[in-house]
């Protein structure tokens, strides 16, 4: 009896300027198989379903347990992490293509540096005085911790940005992930010293006003961040901030 196989179609593009082509692969099925395993199998035996020699697929991956945020791609049309995309739960042929909203590097690899730049723009950090011993941190109630911890679980995968209709060059929208980090740091007893600066950074073009409340972000987030609630909270804080700034100007 022939071994059970899995059918893949992967969008290949050897460089940003090269034409995109779809290649088909037929791989041996194994229990618990995920999309990243398929990539590794292709690397070990780089031939297409029709027997044509090809190259290993270029893609980002690292932890393979959905905590590093590397392997985001579009699988059967949905933005998700490839490591947690189990073959048995996917319709075949499994169609894999790169995220579409970021500059393509090669094959399934894209450049998502924009998120890290956004985090700089909103000062997504706690401004501590220094790393020398200054004693214990501020007290935090368990209730506060239970609000902040989920926001701190964002893995910077950018799936929320990929699926957002407003995340594009025309709007320059920062996207939900960055807004969630603003809420996280504004909530912190020390972090809130930069609250006004963070809110002003989100008050203009490309800021919170670009959100069209499509709610795609919260649907797609692999870590279940409360993204739409967070955007509502920060919108309200920005309105208050704008009013204050207006009265003081």
């Amino acid at each position: 009896m022939a071994n059970k196989t899995v059918q893949f179609e992967i969008k290949r593009q050897s460089s940003p300027d090269a034409p995109a082509v779809w290649e088909s692969y037929e791989l041996e099925w194994r229990p618990g198989m995920n999309v990243t395993t398929a990539m590794m199998d292709i690397a070990a035996n780089p031939v297409t379903a029709s027997g044509k020699p090809t190259t290993p697929v270029t893609y980002d991956s690292n932890c393979l347990e959905e905590i590093c945020g590397s392997c985001a791609m579009r699988i059967n049309g949905k933005a998700r992490m490839a490591c947690s995309a189990l073959v048995d739960n996917l319709e075949q042929p499994i169609r894999v293509e790169p995220l579409s909203k970021f500059p393509l590097v090669r094959d399934l690899q894209v450049d998502r540096a924009v998120l890290f730049e956004n985090l700089k723009a909103v000062k997504a950090w706690i401004p501590i005085d220094g790393t020398y011993d200054l004693g214990a941190g501020p007290r935090v109630t368990p209730q506060q911790q239970e609000v902040n911890y989920p926001l701190s679980n964002c893995i910077s995968c950018t799936c929320c940005m990929e699926v957002c209709p407003q995340f594009n060059e025309a709007t320059g929208f920062v996207g939900a992930a960055t807004i969630a980090q603003v809420k996280l740091f504004n909530n912190h007893p020390t972090g809130k010293v930069l609250k006004e600066e963070r809110l002003r950074a989100l008050a203009g073009d490309g800021g919170i006003q670009e959100c069209g409340f499509a709610q795609n972000c919260v649907e797609v987030c692999p870590k279940n961040l409360p993204l739409t609630n967070t955007i509502s909270d920060i919108s309200r804080d920005i309105l208050v901030q704008k009013a204050k700034d207006f009265l003081l100007s």
Partner: protein, 590 residues
């Protein structure tokens, strides 16, 4: 003088800790990482970080933490640096707390602590079951702050290839490869700090991330840096076996009350949930009544092996045992272990709130690493090593939740040490060896790109992993280790016939992998030969033919140096000035 320039290679907890200290002290830092640093392997650490804060009224002290760590490591670690680390731990936790790590809290708003393996105290601070991720993010945010102030320059997507060493044997910089443009460049520095993690990929499948190949360590080993205690490899007792990797199920599951068991009767066909209490064999609790499920990892791993391969009691005849949390209420599990329960459910498909998890041991941590002095400097002037890639803090077996601590502690001391070294180092001779090293690296690249042959590097790697896992993990025999070394030599020979399916010069991941593979092969010999030479059992290194610890012959650090004909071994006395070595018996009351 000019501002000292330090290169840090690796952006996990250790590397970022070093960067922060250097930037804070006014040094200039270039930070190199294969992946964006926020995606480093430290995110995979789950359970927590140890510090004897004694917030539970148990009378815990930093000396007890020190003693547990030395005893847990079977007395192989030098005691002076371990003692200093344990003493520094409480202030490190305070600093992380100030940086905003969302640690779990007590009702009063203080840090909560839980139990971990190899101790009887609640000493582990934690943020759910994603503590490594939360700590890494806190440090990443501080580094981003320094980056925005121009004090740190990141080279993300660059892979370290080698150190640049001048004619006097002093490090003067590095060579690195841009993984997108495939550009080879050298970078000057007054000191370099390697923080490149563990070597899991040498074992094929492990709990490690894809980048944990040990390639950087092997590269500098081949340039003359001593590698210490390479034979000490931690196999974590509780992992989910997978096709692509072994996924960790944190020790914190047992710290929160999780129980390990198998059916008492061989061939029991009932589902785990249907097996009544009387028919369950809680073998860790029976064999180790004092520590129970929280014996150190080497002990738990060997116990699981025994119950599966000697007692033949694996679930359904398979190499698996139960890790059971179903007796703990759902809200507590979600608050304290949510992260790992999600992983189990996503990758296995069962909900561990309702059914016991099926787990088995897997390669997890590299206790050995680059030899360093108590200032974290290797035997080559100007090359420092910190974090999992050094050998300093864990002896023959690491205790859970000590790795995050050792990464941050070593990072924090290495930064100032590297700076003070950089301020005093003599000026380099001429070009400092940069041109010669670039030529050597360009030669290796050119040869690999045009090499013809029938070998696929990914297939060779699978063979290496199978051999290492079979012969150099839980149970070791000299005959098997000899076979493994012969296999590695064969793979090194076949490596000469590697040909790349992709010869392009743009984001060529198989080219980078093939370079890593050569380094993995050279380092693998250090592991298996070091294990073959150590005819005793100590910590994670277990030989049934030599079941006892032999302090007279082997209370010594293994030191390997590279030669063209294979690694050369010497031994160094261990610093045991504070705690006299005593028998390590977790089964007896001590």
């Amino acid at each position: 003088m000019a501002t000292p320039r330090i290169i840090v290679v690796g952006g996990g907890l250790a590397g970022l800790s070093a960067v922060i200290k250097i930037a804070e002290a006014g040094g200039a830092v270039d930070l190199f990482s294969i992946v964006p640093v926020k995606r480093s392997h430290s995110v995979c650490a789950q359970g927590g970080i140890n510090a004897a804060k004694n917030l539970k009224g148990e009378g815990d002290t930093t000396y007890k933490h020190f003693d547990d760590t030395i005893y847990g490591g079977d007395f192989l670690a030098n005691q002076t640096p371990v003692k200093a680390m344990c003493e520094a731990a409480p202030a490190i936790i305070d600093l992380l707390d100030r940086m905003g790590v969302p640690f779990n809290r007590t009702p009063e708003g203080l840090l909560d602590f839980r139990r971990f393996g190899g101790t009887l105290y609640n000493r582990t601070a934690f943020a759910g079951a994603t503590t490594g991720q939360q700590l890494l993010y806190a440090l990443d945010e501080q580094v981003r702050r320094y980056e925005s102030e121009g004090k740190v320059k990141k080279y993300e997507g660059w892979e370290f290839l080698s150190a640049v060493i001048d004619s006097k044997g002093i490090a003067r910089g590095i060579t690195a490869l841009d993984l997108r443009t495939m550009e080879l460049r050298s970078f000057a520095a007054d000191a370099i700090i390697l923080a490149t993690g563990g070597i899991g990929a040498i074992f094929g499948k492990s709990t490690n991330s894809v980048v944990c190949t040990g390639s950087a360590q092997s590269a500098v080993f081949q340039q003359g840096v001593t590698y210490a205690n390479g034979e000490f490899i931690q196999v974590h007792p509780t992992c989910i076996p997978g096709e692509d990797k072994l996924r960790l199920m944190s020790e914190s599951a047992r710290g929160e009350g999780g129980r390990v068991w198998v059916p008492r009767t061989q061939g029991d066909k009932r589902l785990g949930k249907q097996i009544p209490e009387a028919d369950r064999f809680y073998f860790l609790e029976e064999w180790y009544p004092k520590y129970g499920n929280l014996v150190p990892r080497d002990i738990a791993t060997r116990a699981i092996h025994k119950v599966v391969y000697e007692n033949h009691l694996g679930i359904d005849g398979q190499p698996m045992v139960y890790l059971d949390l179903t007796h703990i209420d759902r809200a507590t599990l979600d608050r304290k272990l949510g992260g790992i329960l999600d992983i189990y459910e996503k990758f296995v498909g069962d909900d561990p709130h309702d059914v016991p998890m099926k787990i088995f041991p897997g390669m997890h941590y590299t206790m050995g690493g680059l030899w360093v002095d108590f200032n974290q400097m290797t035997n080559i002037s100007g090359i420092f090593a910190i974090g999992e890639c050094d050998y300093q803090y864990h002896g023959a077996n690491r205790l859970g939740a000590n790795s995050l601590l050792s990464c941050i502690y070593a990072g924090f001391i290495s930064g100032p040490n590297a700076l003070s070294y950089a301020k005093s180092v003599a000026a380099q001779d001429g070009a400092g060896g940069h041109a010669a090293e670039l030529t050597r690296q360009a030669g290796i690249n050119a040869k690999l790109l045009k090499n013809e042959g029938a070998e696929n590097p990914f297939k060779l790697w699978r063979e290496l992993g199978d051999t290492m896992t079979k012969h150099a993990t839980v149970i070791r025999y000299n005959q098997g280790l000899k076979q493994a070394d012969e296999k590695i030599v064969e793979l090194l020979e076949r490596y000469k016939n590697v040909s790349l399916a992709d010869r392009s010069q743009w984001a060529n991941t198989s080219f980078a992998f093939a370079r890593q593979l050569k380094n993995m092969l050279d380092l693998a010999r250090v592991v298996v030969q070091g294990a073959a030479l150590r005819d005793e059992s100590r910590g994670a290194h277990y030989k049934p033919d030599f079941p006892e610890r032999n302090d007279e012959r082997f209370l010594k650090t293994t030191k390997a140096s590279f030669t063209d004909s294979g690694p050369h071994f010497e031994y160094e006395e261990v610093d045991t000035q504070f705690i006299k070595p005593r028998p390590r018996r977790y089964d007896a009351a001590n």
